[in-house]
Amino acid sequence: MSKEIEGPVEKSGEINVSEEIIKAEGLTKVFNKHLTAVDHVDFSVTNGEIFGFLGPNGAGKTTTINMLITILKPTAGTASVFGYDITKHASEVRNVIGVVPQEYTADEDLTGVENIILCADLYGIPRKVSRERAVELLELVEMTTFKDKKVATYSGGMRRRLELACGLINRPRILFLDEPTLGLDVQTRTATWNYIRKLKKEYGMTLFMTTHYLEEADALCDRVAIIDHGKIVVVGPPEDLKHSLGGDLITLSIREDDDVSEVVQKIEHVKDVKKENGSYRIKAEYGEITAPLIIEALRKKGHTVTKLSLTEPTLNEVYLEYTGKSMRDAEESREAFAAQRMTMRRARQ
């Protein structure tokens, strides 16, 4: 068993570093024969990137992650993690991945360090090694001071950090994070983002995360897959997704009364110029680069820019573009969500 784990590269033969470390093809999960939670999903995650699954609650994010971490069997399709098939080589997959679940799974009656050791035992890590690692990990998530306190006394942020430490105990190559900042306050959320960035930067870890926070996907992920009703609607780096909408909106006014539309139109990246009530609405790709170019060009023609504002499209606009509804609206249709959740629960039983 260990030999296979030591050499997954040789064994699978198709994994190169910087290659697809997770690959899903037609991955599907149907609960109770009628509730399709994940519907023929295809995607791949490259070595060393932070890949995000973005979508409203009930879109199928957790079901996808649960299939990848081998606790649910796909109804159809396949996926491989680090070259290992998630159904045929589940136990090899479990050895190379770390999981930080959505819930707080740490045992409240045990202390922080006892919880980490318990996780280590589940991987069969010898006590001598696990004690050393526990010290390191508690240091990493800045929990050393609280390590001997019972988890029942921890705050939400502390529990999250403990979950993170537990997920890292087997030194995984890929870490799965299911809604890592759900229910955290802004400060703790930022701190969690920093840990996640650190894992990518300092340990070269590949991270697969789900989130329903647009800002989180934007701030953290190298690539984002937007998922809606169990289907991936679009995949790409957040910047590209936003640019694909046709760019940013630059609004400017000049002191002079001349029509400068012609001048602006010729500038690189500018797509469209409209004069409205004495100000110009300019649609441009890469607004932050284009705006200075516009100012420069107008100054050369002897015009003075008096006012300028730049509006970048957010992932919410991307979501709107591809699903036809605002992410926030989707979140707010609580009743529909609650009904679906009930069905899911029944289906899972």
């Binding site: 068993m1 260990s2 784990i5 030591e6 649960n66 971490i69 081998t70 606790i71 649910l72 069997k73 136990s91 479990r94 050895n95 190379v96 991945i97 999981v99 679940p101 959505q102 819930e103 707080y104 799974t105 045992d107 009656d109 045990l110 050791i117 318990l118 996780c119 035992d121 589940l122 991987y123 069969g124 890590i125 010898p126 090694v129 537990c166 087997n170 030194r171 995984p172 190559r173 340990y203 070269g204 870890m205 629960r345 899972r348 039983q349």
Partner: protein, 302 residues
């Protein structure tokens, strides 16, 4: 980065970690630990000492009507008194195979405790599911069978400990050992308890592993625990039961467990009966554990 070279390759790794996690909830919580010791004392006090069935048949219960008493000479009365006094012991021995109901009942308490402790073992599975711990464990390389068996083992160890307490208390309260009792017999008691606990907790875990609500297994437990208890020889001998109840009692593994413990502790040991008891409970444990583990396995790897 992943270093699995030094990790345990045993299929059983994690078993003790998971078992100890459950046990810690019990022995590290002083209140729960204390209550689990007080519970059998209360039951023994109530059923064994307060409702002393033996006292019903005592000589004073058979006092002659006054007009009848005058027809006998004092010597005859004395003889009658002696007869009645002996009658109690005869009735008790005839019905319970021992003259002391407390001894009879306190052994029944051991089976009672095994049943109750194992029944609630399923509950912790529900909690682990609800709190997400089960999913967490499932995403680690720990074997599915180990997850189930750790629950069985923790319930078994717990009820064996409680059974030990009961024996100590019962002896302190006046349990009368059988004529060929040796301390070695205690080992036999723990052996049969191990078997019955493994069997019972496997069944209860199989019942509860699918449920996400605590209410479902609670209802199941409440439905079957007392009937299962009273349809056995734990508190009352089967031979005095109506036929239909005897039939149930004869397939109830608790009957065989209790009988085995009585053979070992308080009866004049009948080795042939004891072998049958062990065989029956052993087969029950193997079948129940197989069913429990197969069902749980199938459900856990859905």
């Amino acid at each position: 980065m992943s270093e699995t070279n030094g990790n345990s390759k045993s299929k059983l790794h994690g078993l003790w970690a998971l078992t100890n996690r459950d046990l810690k909830k019990w022995y590290k919580a002083p209140v729960i630990f204390l209550l689990s010791i007080i519970q059998p004392i209360l039951w023994m006090g109530l059923l064994g000492k307060a409702m002393n069935i033996g006292a019903i048949f005592s000589g004073s219960s058979f006092a002659l009507p006054p007009q009848l008493a005058t027809q006998f000479t004092p010597e005859q009365l004395q003889q009658l008194g002696a007869y009645f006094a002996g009658l109690q012991s005869n009735i008790m021995t005839g019905a319970f195979s021992t003259a002391d109901y407390f001894s009879f009942m306190s052994v029944g308490m051991i089976a009672f405790t095994a049943l109750f402790t194992t029944m609630f073992s399923g509950m912790s599975v529900v909690w682990d599911r609800r709190l997400g711990f089960l999913n967490k464990a499932l995403s680690t390389p720990v074997s599915r069978a180990v997850i189930v068996f750790s629950k069985v083992l923790s319930a078994t160890l717990r009820s064996m400990f409680q059974a030990g307490i009961i024996i100590v208390i019962a002896v302190a309260f006046g349990l009368q050992f059988g004529p060929n009792f040796t301390p070695l017999n205690i080992l036999g008691v723990f052996a049969i308890l191990f078997l019955i606990c493994v069997g019972l907790s496997s069944i209860f875990i199989a019942i509860t592993i699918r449920s996400t609500r605590i209410e479902t297994p609670m209802a199941v437990v409440n439905l079957i625990n007392l009937p299962l208890m009273f349809a056995s020889n734990a508190f009352f001998p089967t031979k005095l039961m109506p036929d239909w109840l005897q039939t149930i009692a004869k397939v109830n593994p608790l009957t065989y467990t209790t009988d085995a413990v009585r053979q070992l502790l308080i009866f004049d040991t009948d080795w042939a009966v004891l072998v049958v008891d062990f065989a029956y409970v052993g087969v029950f444990a193997v079948i129940a554990a197989s069913i429990g583990i197969v069902l749980s396995w199938r459900f856990l790897s859905k």
